[in-house]
Amino acid sequence: MASHAIVETTHEENYLQYKGRHGGLWSWIFSTDHKRIGILYMIGMFAFFVVAITLGLLMRLEQLTMGPTIMQPSTYNKVFTLHGVIMIFLFIVPGITATFGNFFLPIQIGAKDVAFPRLNLFSWWLYVIGAVTALVAVFTGMADTGWTFYVPYSVRTGTNVTLAVLAAFILGFSSILTGLNFVTTVHRMRAPGMGWFRMPLFVWGLYATAWIQVLATPVVGITLLLIILERTLGIGIFDPALGGDPILYQHLFWIYSHPAVYLMVLPGMGVVSEIIPTFARRNIFGYKAIAYSSVGIALVGTLVWGHHMYTSGQSYTAAVVFSFLTFLVAIPTAIKVFNWVATLYKGSIRVELPLLYAMAFIFHFSIGGFTGLMNAAISVDVHIHDTYFVVGHFHYTMFGGTVFAMFGALYYWLPKMFGRMYGQKIGITAFVLQVIGFNMLYFTMMVMGYMGMPRRYYDHLPQFHDGHIIATVGSWFLVAGLFLMIGNLVWSVFKGAKAEDNPWGGTTLEWQIPSPPPLENFDKIPQVERGPYEHTPVEVSK
């Protein structure tokens, strides 16, 4: 019995202190611990995020005046391509899944790790290899095709498309492996009592995401591979001169790349579904509806790719069907929004930064969603196709939606991940700057797009000049807010006040363990006996 006493009094190491068989950097980059891998992804992704923000800032600066401002037209083409490639493939596709998903999926289902820890580490290494390939591509003549690599231009241009495409292929492979790891984890690693409808909604979001990663990514993989074959071996499967059809490329590309946008946003919706019940101190309204709607979005989202091609020459019938299916996506999305708002109704709301970001998510995503419906309507889309309206729309969903949810997740889980609290006042200042800057920038872009400002143009006509000034000034506010936030968070990780184990009164499993979590998450695998968001104990009436 003496041994038990020793066990209980020993202070358990948390995952940050654990040394392992290697010291220093090696104990991180060869660690199979899902928490460390999550943080590795976070470091890499935010480094690239800062690079891509800077590129975006430069693009806005170029549009401040008419004519050349700070760069040449060919540079501008490369800058927007690089901005897109980094933001999509290196930042937002791994996004919440690879960072918070890796860190919290096993903890939230009561497991010690993911199903295949070594494969998980391999995914991260593939991410690094893909990132390095992308960097090499940048310094050997960056592609100027836009992130979509449309043929025939991507096959004809003299810039280094091959390496950029190879980078996207490797990153896609990394994403597939994460997806199959997560699907297996959710099926096999849930703690006893953790039934499907006791899983936190973040896990549901990740589960739906993981399926999209598995189902959609291989198709873009083969498509990108064919571009490489066409450029290196002359196998011109999409080349009209050789009997090929470039529109087929667009089909295959969007078969992945449209589901990919749901792959980006579903984990963000999962985060919002975590934050709102915690800060409203209420069980979530419509748990099952939100869970099913995640799967619904994933399902319908795979059948709508044709709405990117209304003007590319697909049959009218196909366009009508794609338009209809696209409208259908609005239903599960709206179900989520209504349920979140209904959860807040009569809740004991505590306003903290994570909740503010969740609110900003709902606000931005609603605008992004409605403008998405405008894009889905064929007659409208023919006019606004390839204008700033589309650019504004997807920034509202991706940036205002997913990325704001990710910031919310950062604030929400920072105390758990590092055992430190963030600086509240600076955080709120940054939040206000971001929201003002974001809306100045992208709402103005949508208005300009509706008036006819085309996307990817180096220069603009005089009637758009005022709009461009407003948008560029907005980008300054936005970037100031972003850097203030990142600085604040980095400072908090090292110097912030010590955080409690459960500062928000959260009810999911990650809040039942110490902050930062111990190496193996749980001393004993927990027995789950209730749903994820039951805030008040059940009253027994006599």
């Binding site: 066990v7 190491e13 392992g20 494969l119 297996t184 096999r188 083969i222 002359g234 499967i237």
Partner: protein, 263 residues
């Protein structure tokens, strides 16, 4: 000081056979989708150029194609026999069957080499002048032919490498290597020694003292080399690799009629 013993071996990666199978099936699913993109392209172009595809297919050597089909089908049989042998504890037969499988794969690749070499000799390869003088449909047929059988050939090579790796694992003297639970290790540092104790409490031998410098302990268990002994984890490795091999086989079964038999 009272002496107490604890089980120090932590299974950091517990073997979940069902989980491993799920993972493998999901991976196969992604492979099917990868080839699915190519089959989709084939379907579209076949519908667009039916006559040209028919003409171009006459240039392919049905005999070599048939031999290769037989080779791959038989190799699927031998890999299953290898699994069955290992399940019955017959390691030697399992290894033999696995080696045969790899040889069949090699035979397939050798055939492929001569087949492609023959075509390239005759100037039928992407971008060649002779091919470009053909009709657009025939060009497309040969581009798809090279892309699809090429990607498939790459998969055959990968499959052979994977099976070779499993063969090495099965042939190797079975060794279990375990990590000691690091949180438990922490308690022992500087004040303990590691011993091996049998069922009835007899100390079989002291291995080492654990002082402060020891950060990590691996425990290796080497089994006596016996005919029937194998590490059960090798079985799942073999089964999963065999699944992959079957997939490579199945893809060929579709490629064969689509390219060779549509004349």
């Amino acid at each position: 000081m009272s002496q107490h013993t604890e089980s120090v071996v932590a299974h950091k990666h517990p073997s979940d056979f069902v989980g491993a199978k799920i993972g493998m099936w999901l991976f196969l699913f992604t492979e099917v989708l990868l080839f699915g993109g190519l089959f989709l392209l084939y379907a579209v172009y076949r519908a667009k150029y039916p006559v040209d595809f028919h003409l171009a297919a006459t240039e392919l050597d049905t005999f070599i194609g048939t031999v290769n089909t037989l080779l791959l089908l038989t190799s699927s049989l031998t890999v299953v026999l290898s699994i069955e042998a290992l399940q019955r504890g017959n390691r030697k037969l399992s290894i033999g069957m696995l080696a045969t499988t790899i040889l069949f794969g090699l035979g397939f690749m050798v055939n492929k080499y001569f087949e492609w070499g023959h075509k390239i000799e005759h100037g039928l390869y992407p971008g060649s002048e002779k091919l470009l003088s053909h009709s657009q449909g025939e060009i497309t047929f040969f581009q798809l032919y090279y892309a699809m059988t090429g990607l498939h050939g790459l998969h055959v090579l990968v499959g052979m490498a994977v099976l070779g790796g499993v063969l090495y694992f099965i042939a190797r003297k079975p060794v279990n290597k375990e990590h000691m639970n690091p949180t438990i290790l922490r308690r022992f540092q500087g004040a303990a020694r590691l011993a091996v104790i049998s069922d009835n409490g007899n100390e079989l031998g002291t291995v080492a003292r654990i002082d402060e410098d020891v950060r990590n302990i691996d425990i290796r268990i080497s089994y006596e080399h016996g005919e029937k002994r194998f590490d059960p984890r090798n079985l799942i490795k073999l089964e999963n690799s065999a699944l992959y091999w079957h997939l490579v086989d199945v893809i060929w079964i579709f490629l064969f009629p689509l390219f060779y038999l549509i004349t």
